[in-house]
């Protein structure tokens, strides 16, 4: 009885903290500029199904991809067992699904979950080794400071522990079930006699063979594992939204709201479009526009801080798992330049967190994403090749943030590198990035005429 109450209280606290944090993230994301992505619903669902549910971009790197699918499948499917654990916890039942599903189906299901749990454990250990012993370049890098590194390790270690206690719990349980009922009842643990097990489970059977047959010890092991597991799950749930591990939820909406246009398309700035039309289109009447709202703050061209970015760009930043596939594919990063697309995403998220906190507490700082987090040198190293966009397993677009920050530098600050200013002047005056006369554009045709061959 007391354990039911403890369970329900823990569940309540966890839900409260989890929901509070999710709402905070939601309101931070909503600090971004409006962007209407309510179109093309069926294509969006398909993209989500393919990229998030189907992990299509993960398997581009087969080892990490397959290991990740183990963890992902384990996480999703073992949650069905979690349902039973929750019901048992709340109502004091024990393996409530057993009588409902029948012995053989229950056995098969749990056995299947155990195989998944084993694969999760295997993948977590493999990932821990890769991260900490293997020399994989993308797990270092200057944005991979102590917190991102320990964040990754905490997640992998907690997941491993969860799987170990889950398997040990099943092992102790199945030994108890296999004992003579009389002995178990004599020890006062009637609930462990309602299942008539003939076999151990597939994986935990290995552990079961190593356990003692003392009823009280088995009971203690089973209960301890049950509680470690559930407290671990609750703790994890509270931890996830503060961690890069948030991708397990955000991967789905983030891929749903993916850009559907060809990735080479950046999009035209609407504010600029109006200005250019007023300037160049003789049919536009500058006085026809309604009087501007006196209180309206004119929108910046491009982005200086997180609130100049769209909500989707902000959602991207929270969806980032810091895997570094973007950075490892980035031509600038590979050749030693300062730019790292992963850092762009992490900086955006960190600044957004800071900005959100400032808004809440009411004190503003003089900081901004551009300058205090991301330097112009990083931005000017980008070749806009889209390798980072292509590489991201959850369809994050670091390039769109880079371009928006460049737009601010150029259009609001006139702070482009000198050579680019020269290029701009040439385009403006000569219609080409070099200083050639536009009238000479067709000269090559005459060259062909003259020589007959070119």
């Amino acid at each position: 009885m007391i354990s039911n109450i403890v369970f329900i209280i823990l569940l309540g606290i966890t839900s409260f903290l989890f929901i509070r944090r999710i709402r905070e993230i939601r309101s931070n994301i909503n600090l971004g500029r409006d962007l209407d992505l309510s179109d093309n619903k069926s294509r969006r669902w398909k993209t989500m199904a393919r990229v998030a549910l189907g992990q299509s971009k993960m398997t581009v790197r087969p080892f990490a991809g397959i290991m990740h699918i183990f963890i992902y499948a384990g996480f999703v499917l073992i949650n069905l067992e979690m349902l039973e654990i929750f019901i048992d916890g709340a109502f004091g039942t024990h393996r409530v699904f057993y009588p409902l599903l029948g012995s053989s189906l229950y056995h098969t299901l749990i056995g299947f979950f155990e195989i998944l749990a084993f694969l999760v454990l295997f993948a977590c250990v493999a990932f821990l080794i890769r991260r900490n012993i293997g020399r994989i370049q993308r797990f270092s890098g200057k944005e991979m400071t102590s917190w991102p590194k320990s964040d990754a390790n905490i997640i992998l270690i907690v997941e491993s522990i969860l799987m170990i206690v889950l398997l040990t719990m099943n092992a102790a349980d199945s030994v108890l079930f296999s004992l003579e009922d009389a002995a178990v009842i004599a020890a006062g643990h009637n609930q462990y006699t309602n299942i008539a097990f003939t076999d151990f489970f597939w994986i935990s059977g290995i552990i079961a063979n190593m356990l003692p047959s003392n009823v009280e010890t088995l009971y203690m092991i089973e209960r301890a594992c049950w509680w470690i597991h559930i407290v671990g799950v609750f703790g994890f749930l509270i931890y996830i939204p503060y961690s890069k591990h948030l991708h397990i939820f955000l991967a789905f909406p983030n891929t749903y709201y993916s850009r559907l246009e060809p990735i080479g398309e950046v999009g035209n700035l609407e504010a600029v479009k109006k200005e250019v039309e007023l300037m160049m289109d003789p049919n536009q009447d500058p006085f026809a526009a309604s009087a501007p709202d006196a209180d309206a703050v004119p929108q910046r061209f491009g982005a200086k801080d997180v609130n100049d970015l769209s909500w989707k760009q902000l959602m991207d930043s929270y969806s980032c798992t810091e895997c570094g596939r973007c950075t490892s594919e980035c031509p600038a990063n590979q050749t030693g330049k300062l730019l790292s697309p992963r850092k762009i995403m992490m900086d955006t998220r960190d600044r957004l967190e800071e900005h959100g906190k400032n808004l809440k507490s009411g004190d503003e700082d003089a900081k901004s994403l551009l300058g205090d987090y991301i330097s112009p040198e990083e931005l000017w190293a980008c070749t806009t090749c889209n390798a980072c966009v292509q590489a991201c397993p959850v369809n994050i677009n670091p390039l769109s943030i880079i371009v928006d920050l460049r737009r601010f530098l150029v259009m609001e600050e006139s702070a482009a590198p000198n050579e680019l200013n020269t290029m701009f002047t040439n385009v403006e005056n000569n219609g080409a990035p070099w200083q050639f006369a536009q009238a000479d554009r067709g000269n090559w045709t005459e060259e062909m005429d003259k020589t007959g061959s070119g």
């Binding site: 600038a332 806009t384 390798a387 150029v410 219609g431 000479d440 062909m448």
Partner: protein, 263 residues
């Protein structure tokens, strides 16, 4: 020969009451850069040989605004786009072919929202069509035994998902096609995109084109096939960096096909 080489401008064609099958958008590099002009001419010759009725804008063509846009100067880009759309729509242009993937990408993806709706085709796609329709025939004899590797331009490949057209065209050469370890959607940039062409690279250990040329050297090709005048320059410089210019040629697909067609 010189008679048939006359390439009409849109103005001339419209004046005689005609419409071309396709407008050849040459691009700044194709118009002015000596190396890129060879690509332009090779492609023009292929169009002529295939009896494609085409025209150019000549002095009425202007930068699409792509380098300005990627560098963040949306204003300048939209001004260029506005002017270009006026010209193109004025001539009622329906189809555009271009040998520059940057022009291709921006005309195809960004111009429609600004009122410029055209069927935009990259020259490798156009050559693929001409070859498939039998309007253009090449014999690959002179390329037999040569190893060719194709460097995917970012703005044709990743940006627009076109990986097959250039490869299919190259396959007509009867050469040995070999892929670099990073190719197609994982192809490495040449280093020129995003207006990098017009500035010194930021501080680093290495130039991007040198890194890419290392991929090239690994597969020991006789020819690096390019589909972009910017890539062409970067790869040519990269090959020179390793003093391999006597062993490895960097050529546009249009040049290779023109060579095979004895042009």
């Amino acid at each position: 020969m010189s008679e048939s080489m006359k390439i009409p401008t849109m103005a001339e064609m419209t004046a005689s009451g005609e419409q071309p099958e396709v407008l050849f958008w040459v691009g700044c590099m194709g118009s002015f850069d000596d190396r890129a002009k060879k690509i332009t001419k090779a492609f023009a010759k292929l169009l002529i040989k295939s009896n494609v009725k085409f025209a150019v804008l000549g002095a009425e063509e202007s930068c699409t605004g792509d380098p300005a846009k990627r560098a963040g100067n949306e204003f300048l880009y939209q001004m260029q786009a506005f002017a270009n759309v006026q010209v193109l729509n004025g001539y009622e242009v329906k189809r555009i072919v271009t040998s520059c993937p940057h022009c291709f990408n921006i005309l195809k993806n960004e111009y429609p929202e600004l009122g410029g709706n055209y069927e935009v085709i990259h020259h490798t796609q156009f050559l693929q069509r001409l070859l498939n329709e039998g309007r253009l025939e090449v014999k690959g004899g002179s390329f037999k035994g040569k190893r060719i590797t194709f460097h995917d331009p970012c703005y044709l490949g990743r940006a627009n998902g076109e990986y097959e057209a250039p490869r299919e065209v190259l396959a007509k050469l009867d050469a040995e096609l070999t892929e670099m370890k990073r190719c197609k959607d994982r192809g490495l940039c040449c280093g020129a995109g995003g207006a990098q062409m017009f500035k010194e690279a930021e501080k680093g250990d290495k130039e991007v084109n040198v890194e890419r040329t290392e991929d090239v050297l690994e597969v020991k090709p006789d020819i690096v096939a390019a589909g972009c005048p910017f890539c062409n320059t970067m790869m040519t410089d990269g090959v020179k960096h390793f003093n391999k210019e006597s062993e490895i040629e960097v050529k546009d697909i249009a040049e290779l096909i023109a060579e095979a067609a004895d042009l």
